[in-house]
Symmetry: D2
Subunit: 345 residues, 4 copies
């Protein structure tokens, strides 16, 4: 396996920590720079006590500066930064010829108007966004291979797009009928010291939020529309539940005229039967977040309901792995020509 | 306040315990018999250490026998028994002239064919079921007042029927469009020593179950059909989440032609503005199970989504209180002519 | 029951919320003022959505000003304020003739040197501290009755002092042998938006903290010394565990020469057999926080270990009720000559 | 790295599952037999849905029979069986020349009288127990290397013996002064469908249990006595807390005459400074179970308390990894001459 020099920018949050965990053990990766505004000078083992004693524990954070990142010799850079900030780094890094995998929302949305509608600010770098590749390897593998800039998908969108994409592409569902309910663990909200994220406020609590217009809806609809070949508008209802990690998504939709449950299953099997990270649980299995946490798997099951005529799709993933950092590493594996499961099984 | 003699049959489970808690403090209630097959001879304070030291802690369980219950002088009997068993007690107790509030499913379903379809056994006592009153005071208050037998609603159905009933009654929604996702705490599964209910199996886990045909669907559709004046078939998708108590329900539906979000809000306000236990949180508030646990409230909010044209209804309740024992006590209050909030605020 | 006008100052935190819950239903209490710097102008039902729909939900917060509190006509004032701030209110309120029940640490410590050692600041009002009464009714009931200023105990100290006090008073234990391990739910740390209190940081985590010199040690040793009639120095080791509420305390100690386990049990029974809020579980029962949460009980059990000769004491309480607000209300009941269990069972 | 054929007997519980996870990825291990009475015929991926899609997911369970295990060609056998049952397998397997790593208590206790006192049954195979090696590599590494039968330590004992062993060996502590409080996650109780282990019974609950004579005390005292060179009797107080995994242990002890805190730290550093799996956090760091779950690390910190003269030792580990299966694999690595961290970092 060839080796590549890799940098992580902004590694202080939950997805940054997960990137360090995954890349720190990756046999093809040499971590040459870890940056953080607040943590510069500290080592991985100090900042993340969980990693003390591991081979990469002695790596020291440096300040988040483009020059230093370029000087590190990194050929690949992961950005684990807030949206808006990511673009400030991506532009000069791409210009300097580095290949960038961005975990923020800055390049996921192609249409500036949609971005502005959902994020309340102009799309930071429209041309770069236009040339970026949405980093869902199960769908865009070929384009990821040669991409200069990957817009790695959001956690909710991954859990939604994976089950729906092949069905919409084959026109097996009526797009306007789609209703998505998602349940996310609290790490999805990041390591932010907000009152509503305190233990006591989240434990023994369940609540919907950002109803009916969560930011991830922009990304979901863009990709579902691409699959369907027509503009798709859906209902997406996220909920916060008291687990650290995990997203469970339940989707209902009406099948297209004459489409049977068996065809749904066949289309999912055709799309994902050969995929390493999509586990199809069929018409009787049930995803459970506890089976996917700390893994890069997304588990998918389906039911057809003869009483209502609806199809039900169920998926589960770890929001920080397949929903964020694991998927980003999966893209790296694709970009480098390594086995896609490297460091991820 | 007049006093009534009351018995609880089968008080060893979670909803039985909750009945004891509520009735033990009820200023109008004299608990004259507490029965349990397994616990006969023991006191409330021993069986439920939480209740030791409370005024009713010394009450002793007796064996679950109809004769003993009648002999206790009870005029009202709560049945907290498994379905099938409840009917065996309800029949002779009703025949003896006692008024019965049953928390099981035995009398909720009026149509024997529907019962058999969902419960896999014949409806135990069809005539009694036909004459029973569904114990949702917000909807059936007048009939509850004089009822001999109350079929107290299930936990999920309460969280679903409360928001939907007035809207279907006024034909503000398209019934066929209704999709219900519900999230329940683990106490909803009862105090049953099953592997899948162990702490380690439920903690850090979320999963759907009984998709697409949970037993409570029978009850939900019966009551929604009654409201709509037509047969209503809906999608109902329950999920198990790691909290002790609480149900959060998220419903999407298409409004009937020309119906606005304001009309939805107005109908809910008209129906529940004067209700003590339905808290309307409007178009911006968000229910959260932590605000309703250990209370008899059901919190309801709504949104209209101009992008999809759908209405979103959100509700939260405690599955053991408004979803079971609190609601049963609320029915007792109605039956006795006491203020409906007695012992429940 | 006579009625008294009562004010709560600083009701925005967890113990303030619990005071509102308890006093809002108290049949002898008229809440005439609720104050909060941040929440002035808002109602109880808005600030605490859990309380919406309750009879006291409409009460409005006013600004935290001494003049306004006095003007409210309150004869009793609860202070739920940070230490340091509490004394600023207590002094003028006491001077104005009001009776004050303070939940902070400002008056618990009588010795200015000890206070300064543990709190890193001078004791705010030494004379007032000297004249205050430590609000543990099981021990200081008679003095509480006529007190002008109550220093209501801390959560950990209550769980420690209750089991140890009668044993030290009767010289049944060797004071120097005492080792205390306590486990507290996260609400003990208050509603503070700190990273280490986030859900993800506390869930699936256990950790000791403030070892070996937590602030509550000052209070524990003061009261144990008073009981023993000699200076007592103990080991106190607090831990944070992932529950919302509850403190579990495990104490080991060597019995004094010749003292038997039976004498330990007899002394606890003598001290607490007639107490409404101390439940003695004996030599075989085991306290469990789930049996005391949301109650004012403290459950106590004991064991003698013939192998080591040690005595083990186990206690459990709700840190926000018997460990804070419930106990404060218990003091109010004593001060007003009301049944001590009023609003607390 | 040479390869060895390995069998796991009784892989259906939590520690069996963890063994599969660790050995399934071990580069030196070929899993040739997985046995289970109940699961024979099923595959790993079916029994443990978490492992579906992993390279070892297709392994099929066979019945638990000695003949079949021998026939599999396994040279090393892990026993993850209830105590009593383990010895029935160990005897013939050892006789057949296989090397056995037993995770039960059957061979941990050398003294038949002690075993019988704590387990209420005769020591199953006293000669084998006498010849077995206690599988704590940090202490018995040299003997483990050539051992035929490893008695792998219990979860609590590991967390206790690691910090205390070097201190007792150097006579830095007064053995009679030792008091141990341990907090364990619920997986420590196994995958047993008991009411007291249900989610609702453990969540929002903390309780001590088996006070003062838990079975692991036998093992703890045996090893501490061996270290001290004298009979050591200690107080050990286990508690159940609502986490899936993790043990936190807090030990207090009086230092031997004239011993300083610095000497304690020095002795721990001398003993473990070169150990891969013992992370010393010093006099200011604090172990936290969330930093060790899913790892083979045990984190250790210490404090000296000048007020009481006591030493406080704090440790944290994952009860299923360093406290069970990880430690067993660590022994395998030692026995096979592989790097001790193989498959464990």
């Amino acid at each position: 396996m060839n080796h590549e020099k890799v940098a992580i920018v902004g590694a202080s949050g939950y997805s940054g920590e997960e990137l360090v965990r995954l890349l720190g053990r990756h046999p093809g990766v040499e971590l040459v720079a870890l940056t953080s505004r607040q943590l510069a000078g500290q080592t991985v083992g100090t900042v993340f006590p969980r990693f003390a004693g591991l081979p990469f524990a002695g790596l020291a954070f440096i300040a988040s500066e483009v020059g230093a990142i370029v000087a590190s010799g990194a050929r690949f850079v992961f950005l684990a930064l807030p949206h808006g900030v990511a673009a400030e780094f991506a532009q000069p890094l791409v210009a300097a010829g580095l290949r960038v995998i961005d975990l923020s929302a800055d390049f996921r949305i192609k249409d500036p108007a949609v971005y502005e509608e959902f994020y309340g600010a102009p799309l930071p770098a429209p041309e770069l966004a236009a040339s970026s590749v949405y980093g869902l390897p199960e769908i865009y593998r070929e384009r990821i291979r040669g991409a200069q800039l990957i817009a790695s998908p959001g956690c909710y969108p991954t859990s939604v797009i994976v089950p729906l994409h092949p069905l919409l592409k084959k026109r097996l569902l009526k797009p306007a009928s789609i209703v998505i309910n998602s349940l996310s663990g609290v790490s999805g909200a990041g390591r932010n010291a907000k009152t509503e994220l305190l233990y006591v406020e989240c434990n023994e609590s369940v609540r919907a939020y950002s109803v009916p217009k969560h930011r991830h809806l922009a990304e979901i609809e863009q990709e579902l529309s691409a699959a369907a070949g027509e503009r798709v508008t859906v209902t997406f209802l996220p909920h916060l539940i008291p687990v650290n990690r995990g997203i469970f998504t339940t989707i209902t939709a009406a099948p297209a005229e004459g489409v049977t449950g068996a065809e749904i299953g066949a289309a999912l099997t055709e799309a994902y039967g050969g995929e390493a990270f999509v586990r199809l649980l069929g018409e009787t299995g049930t995803p459970d977040t506890k089976n996917v946490t700390h893994t890069n798997f997304v588990d998918v099951a389906w039911r057809s309901d003869p009483r209502t005529g609806r199809i039900v799709l169920l998926s589960a993933e770890d929001n920080l792995v397949k929903g964020a950092s694991g998927q980003a590493v999966q893209s790296l594996n694709v970009m480098c020509g390594w086995p896609e499961t490297t460091a991820l099984l």
